[in-house]
């Protein structure tokens, strides 16, 4: 039992933090939002730091690191509310490494690690909500390969990614495929998202696809759990910075002749926010440390973590705006962007009520971290 970070992990954190502070100013971010919500150049910078290869084995030119390093990185990106979706790259690295045939690995992993290829998960369907096993997309075997027909929504940077990881049914069972955006039958329609980022509707009409695995539900659940752990860490980073911004504001802003940070009711609110932050941080650790556990244990833990994060992110985001007062609801001031990011993250990979259901369903007689 040990929650200290190694020196290597601390160096990794420093490197990412430095890039965020120096390379991803709020002004640059604002320009990226204006330009559509994604900047490939910024993504390439992340890849140059090695982050795109974090979950890719060294044999495939990655760093071969694990969930704790993923947590460290995502926390720092969260602090800067970085739009470029590294969480997707962690998912792609993890899922392809874990489930894809060797040929697919060899073809894609090195390119993902270098940043040359951006691969994202395209699983959301209109009727599915947060249920991973609800899937109308169909796959058909065509000679040695496969074709897919599907309509997937809210696919992160879907109109600029190079390939998609797509769940589709084969004989009633979920399988996972890789589809290139440039393939025949693929069309996309991109748009900005509420947090300033970018997503797209992706339509596949008999698009050629490579099979990743026929055990698609296991792989998809794993993919989403990687996403949850990363989102938890990112959420901690976003909240940590949100708290800092808010605390500074309370200690700067005067009303009725005194700093508003001297009002006890606001101080107690800050204490409640700090509580939510530290509970969330604790559960982010938990998510990272359970990400490689056996399936049932992993799913239970990740649901618990995302539930806590959902509660925390909503509270911290809303209260940060409230404590700022009027300036908190302006586009100009930074805190509203942190709030919007927190809001969007709550609805990513299952919202709070969804994960409450998961926790409730997966409950056991035993209690606690190790149960």
């Amino acid at each position: 039992m040990d929650f200290d970070f190694t020196d290597d992990q601390e160096h990794l954190r420093d490197a990412v933090r430095k890039w965020v502070d120096k390379g991803y100013s709020f002004e640059r971010r604002r320009d990226i939002v204006k330009a559509g919500g994604f900047l490939r150049e910024a993504y390439t910078e992340l890849a140059q730091l090695g982050l795109a290869g974090l979950y890719i084995p060294e044999a495939h030119d990655g760093l071969g690191m694990g969930p704790v390093e993923g947590m460290v990185v995502m926390e720092e990106l969260g602090r800067g509310i970085v739009l470029e979706p590294l969480v997707q790259t962690l998912i792609a690295g993890g899922v392809l490494s874990g489930y894809a045939p060797e040929a697919v690995k060899a073809a894609w992993l090195p390119r993902i690690a270098s940043g040359e290829a951006l691969v994202v998960l395209a699983h959301q369907e209109r009727a599915a909500r947060y249920q991973l096993d609800a899937c109308a997309a169909q796959a058909t075997q065509a000679g040695a390969g496969w074709t897919l027909s599907a309509t997937k929504s809210i696919v992160p940077v879907g109109d600029q990614a190079d390939a998609f990881i797509v769940p589709a049914t084969v004989a009633g069972k979920l399988a996972l495929f890789l589809v290139e955006r440039s393939a025949a039958g693929v069309s996309t329609r991109g748009y900005g998202t509420q947090d300033g980022g970018r997503a797209a509707e992706v339509t596949l009409k008999e698009a050629p696809a490579s099979l990743i695995t026929l055990d698609g539900l296991s792989a998809l659940e794993h993919a989403v759990d990687i996403g949850i752990a990363a989102t938890c860490a990112e959420g901690v980073g976003v909240m940590d910075k949100t708290m800092a911004i808010t605390a500074e504001y309370l200690n700067t802003r005067k009303q009725f002749g005194v700093f508003i940070g001297s009002f006890q009711a606001l101080r107690h609110r800050i204490a409640d926010m700090k509580m939510q932050l530290e509970l969330a941080r604790s559960m982010s650790y938990y998510a990272a440390l359970k990400l490689n556990a056996p399936t049932e244990e992993r799913r239970r833990a990740l649901a618990r973590a995302k539930y806590q994060l959902g509660v925390s992110m909503r509270f911290v985001g809303q209260q940060a705006v409230q404590l700022h007062g009027g300036i908190g609801v302006t586009d100009e001031y930074i805190v509203s962007h942190y709030f919007k990011r927190l809001t969007q993250m709550e609805m990513t990979f299952g919202d709070t009520l969804h994960h409450l259901g998961e926790v409730s369903q997966r409950m056991q007689d035993k209690a606690g971290v190790f149960a």
Partner: protein, 399 residues
């Protein structure tokens, strides 16, 4: 004690309902029912229709051309408008400045300003808040110096709702720095077309520009535009605030939006999910309890007995409910509330033709949900933040 409205009140409600249904343009109510973007024209069209009927100043006494309704009648009128999907009347003219002009303005001012307000011809804005003032409204810094028969106004107002459309603005200005901050404030009406007035929209977190900054740079204002006496403006402003009562709770809109929430939850397939449905059920109780509280206040106003001091509670609860229904609507749509498609917030948007209209998932009702949620974060901040309201409520209990 009786929950039912009297036959006369029911008849009144029916008359209002019939008139609203006959006169509210369907293109406008369609936007309101779906939280789509309302233009200046939409708002003013409805204001002028009301004005023509004599109902834009629905709270006005007959002596100034109003209908002279009692508290219950006003409430019924507001409820019927809200449920029918009428836009909220922009309150700065008929609800806010008009009562001040009636109570403290001179006959000349009443004759000059009230008709334009009653008809909906003139768009009024409010100039109270200043940068940094927040809930401390008495900290007015905008100066008005008397020079002969004019005031020279310099300073800045902010959070001026829909000020981009404003033609006139009523302002709290500082005419004296002596004594307590409250004593040196005057109440001034300013023509926004005057040289030196600059309006800059403030983009809010939902990407819309609902509020504005207004600068005054040596703006000349005729002294005849001063309401009442110099340095007594704070008294008038407080009088105005005491006029905001039950409408602060906005329970009629909450009822309409709760029904919309149920429609959205059904369309998104979560209405029969126990967990989600329970959240709606809790909100349902919240709305009923708020409505009962509003009705208690109305009854007390009508009879003059057992007056209730619950304005702070109405503000707190009403704003919390607004935030909650918008939150639940957004959560009902979940991921489908995440696309930010500005054009989808215009009426008549048909989806993305390139994708055969399938966008996102073909459900246009999803488009405004997150924006509305973001926008309504203001409700616990403005009009005296809920923290300030809690101070006030505590004062009524503890002294």
């Amino acid at each position: 004690m009786d929950l039912a409205f009297t036959p006369e009140e029911q008849k009144f409600r029916e008359d209002v309902r019939n008139w609203v249904h006959a006169n509210l343009p369907p293109d406008i109510s369609q936007k309101v029912h779906n939280a789509l973007r309302l233009s200046r024209d939409d708002m003013q069209r409805w204001a002028k229709i009301l004005g023509k009927k004599g109902w834009l100043g629905w709270g006005w006494p007959t002596q100034f051309g109003g209908p002279g309704w009692n508290a219950v009648q006003k409430h019924l009128f507001e409820e019927e408008c809200a449920l029918a999907g009428a836009p909220r009347v922009v309150p700065f003219g008929p609800v806010m400045v008009a009562p001040v002009i009636m109570a403290f303005g001179n006959a000349e001012q009443q004759k000059r300003f009230l008709p334009g307000i009653a008809s909906g011809e003139v768009w009024w804005s409010q100039g109270y808040s200043e940068p940094g003032s927040g809930s401390d409204l008495a900290s007015v810094k905008t100066r008005a110096e008397r020079q002969g028969d004019k005031y020279i106004v310099n300073g800045q107002k902010t959070w001026t709702t829909l000020g981009q459309y404003g033609e006139w603005i009523f302002c709290l200005v500082r005419t004296s720095t002596e004594g307590k901050p409250q004593t040196g404030i005057s109440f001034l009406l300013i023509d926004m077309k005057s040289p030196g007035v600059t309006v800059r929209p403030i983009v809010l977190l939902d990407g819309e520009a609902e509020v504005n900054e207004v600068w005054f740079d040596n703006v000349e204002v005729p002294a005849e535009n001063l309401i009442g006496e110099e340095n007594k403006g704070w008294t008038y402003a407080k009088h105005l605030l005491s006029h905001e009562r039950t409408n602060i709770a906005d329970v009629n809109r909450a009822k309409r939006e709760l029904e919309r929430l149920k429609r959205i939850a059904k369309a998104e397939g979560v209405y029969d999910d126990t967990r989600f449905r329970d959240e709606i059920a809790k909100l349902e109780v919240d709305v009923v309890a708020l409505e009962m509280m509003v009705l208690r206040v109305l009854s007390a106003e009508k009879s003059g007995k057992n007056s209730l001091d619950v304005a702070g509670l109405l503000k707190i609860r009403g704003s919390e409910i607004q935030q909650r229904y918008s939150e639940l609507m957004m959560l009902a749509a979940g991921p489908y509330s995440l696309p930010l498609i500005h054009e989808a917030m215009e009426a008549g948007w048909q989806g993305d033709q390139a994708l055969g209209g399938l966008w996102p998932g073909g459900a246009a009702h999803c488009a405004p949900l997150a924006s509305t949620y973001f926008n309504l974060r203001k409700t616990t901040i403005y009009g005296g933040s809920n923290e300030v309201q809690r101070n006030i409520v505590a004062q009524t209990v503890l002294g």
